[in-house]
């Protein structure tokens, strides 16, 4: 093991889709990003390699509403590795209409420090 490792990412900054190469230094304390066409890609490669995060949007069951599902999202991005777990954790949740947009549906989901919030009003049917 040399400790040097190379990882590949597709830049999402624009349709050019530069293929980024991220190389960790031996100590694993820093990275070098190559293959970018502009600064956006350079920053994206670093972020995506060291701390990738996503906003999770899903829906929960709602009773007595205009629709059967209430859309929700995380109030901020969560670590990419937790996306599936976050979605699974809210799957059994059910609420009753009416619900106002912005209402916290699950607080501090899986200890991530972010809440699952309603992204629309759900009026009674």
């Amino acid at each position: 093991m040399t400790g040097e490792r190379i990882f590949h990412y597709l830049c999402i900054g624009c349709p050019l889709g530069c293929r980024l190469e991220v190389e960790e230094n031996a100590a694993g304390t820093d990275v070098e990003v190559r293959g970018w066409g502009c600064k956006t890609g350079k920053a994206y490669g670093r972020q995506e390699h060291t701390d990738p995060r996503r906003v999770v949007a899903t829906s929960v069951r709602v009773s007595g509403g205009r629709w059967a599902r209430l859309p929700v999202k995380t109030s901020g991005p969560v670590p990419k590795a937790m996306v599936r777990d976050v979605a699974r954790a809210v799957r059994p949740v059910a609420v009753a209409a009416p619900v106002a947009a912005g209402t916290v549906i699950v607080a501090d989901v899986l200890g991530t420090g972010v809440d699952m919030i309603a992204t629309r009003d759900m009026e009674r049917a």
Partner: protein
């Protein structure tokens, strides 16, 4: 809660907007801004907002609202503007017919068959998804073959899962979004198959909807057979050659119970055809001037009914313009007529609007036919702009300033995108 429904239907309105999706909502707001008083916004669904309600993912609004929103959040903001503007919203109602004198025949769940007259009309019916018939996939006709957008409505609004093992045909953004959405609901997504050698969706969706969940994307590959008696039991996929002919010797079968189609959108112009609006054969939408007015005076059009947009933000911006022009029309303000026609040239599929005036600034939207890097967009010899790249999947928009046209005296401008 915002439900600005109308109780009484008047026989006459200043502006009637057909379709209350993002285009219709912005158009109604634009008409109000310019002093139209009685505005009626009509939609066939049970609530205004259009497709945005089912697009529960995040990533809308960066251009128009300056922050990233989910579809429902974007819809609520637009709807708030509609309510604040005191605009009448009539849902559960279909605009069944329209005459050139702007009399609309409505079929309404709450009001029955009615006619209303409009000082100006804005067509904002949007688009519908291409279905299996549009690409003639051979095979049987079992249940379980549906468009990605319909599946999105089932999952995100109605709480129904379309199946357990899903194959997605076409790499359009809705298909990619649904690959992730179904995965998060515990459905197995076996792969996305795209007949072209490149993906149609945004790189962001390739990464965040497919790579994040290890969902394979097969380019230059298509579905050549769908099997199943009652319900889909499987599909056959095969790679295609450069002429898009499948190579059956390399075909293989996949067992699945659902096929989602994400193969493009078609503007919904049935109403436009009823009054014989001039349509552009490339966009399949109405030909419009720089105020988004169609070939019939007082009839405006905006959003996906005119040309398919890739970002809702541009739909809102274009529609605000259309609505303002409709407002000007009914309050008697007429801008100078357009005097320059735009002619799509090299590597330009179309330009919207189709004509320009020289007195004010315009945004020209256009789509290219093939990808190009390091190129120049040329408007005749009056104006050119260098761009790093163009892609067919990404609409180009160029701001045309009056000073560029100061010394131009022709009546048409050819638009070319050329390599530097």
């Amino acid at each position: 809660m915002i439900t600005p429904e109308v109780r009484q239907l008047a026989p006459r309105y200043d502006v009637v907007v057909s379709g209350a999706g993002p285009a219709g909502m912005a158009a109604a707001v634009g008409a109000r801004e310019r002093g139209a008083e009685r505005i009626l916004l009509i939609d066939r669904e049970r609530e205004a907002g259009g497709i945005l309600w089912q697009c529960i993912h995040h990533g809308f609004g960066l251009h128009h609202f300056g922050e990233e929103l989910t579809g429902p959040e974007y819809a609520e903001r637009c709807l708030r503007q509609v309510t604040d503007g005191g605009i009448d919203v009539l849902t559960d109602t279909y605009v069944y017919d329209i005459s050139p004198d702007r009399t609309l025949t409505l079929m309404s769940g709450s009001h029955g068959m009615r006619q209303v007259r409009a000082g100006a009309v804005v067509l904002a019916m949007g688009a519908r998804e291409r279905t299996r018939g549009a690409i003639r996939i051979p095979g049987e006709r079992p249940a379980g073959v549906l468009t990605a957008g319909l599946a999105q409505k089932f999952v995100n609004m109605m709480g129904l899962l379309p199946g357990r093992r899903v194959v997605i045909l076409g790499s359009g953004d809705i298909g990619l979004i649904m690959a992730r959405r179904l995965t998060l609901e515990g459905v197995e997504v076996l792969g996305v198959f795209e007949i072209m050698p490149y993906a149609n969706g945004l790189n962001r969706n390739i990464v965040q909807c497919l790579h994040d969940f290890d969902i394979p994307l097969s380019l230059s590959t298509t579905v050549v057979d769908i099997r199943g008696r009652e319900r889909v039991e499987g599909v056959t996929v095969a790679p295609v050659d450069q002429a898009l002919r499948p190579d059956m010797s390399r075909a293989h079968d996949i067992a699945c119970d659902t096929v989602l189609l994400s193969i493009g959108l078609i503007p919904e112009n049935e109403l436009s055809r009823r009054i014989d609006l001039r349509l552009d054969p490339v966009t399949s939408g109405p030909v419009v001037n720089s105020t988004m007015e169609t070939s019939i005076g007082g009839v405006f059009a905006c959003g996906n009914v005119v040309h398919i947009h890739d970002l809702v933000d541009f739909v809102s911006q274009e529609s605000l313009l259309a609505g303002r022009a409709a407002g000007d029309y009914v309050t008697g303000r007429r801008p100078p007529a357009d005097n320059i026609r735009l002619l799509p040239g090299d590597n330009v599929a179309y330009c919207v609007p189709h004509t320009l005036s020289t007195d004010r600034e315009h945004v020209v939207y256009m789509r290219v036919r093939k990808p190009m890097e390091k190129c120049t967009i040329r408007f005749g010899d009056v104006f050119s702009v260098k761009v790093r790249y163009v892609f067919p999947a990404e609409m180009v928009n160029i701001t045309m300033k009056p000073k560029f046209l100061e010394n131009f005296h022709g009546d048409s401008l050819r638009v070319d995108v050329v390599q530097r």
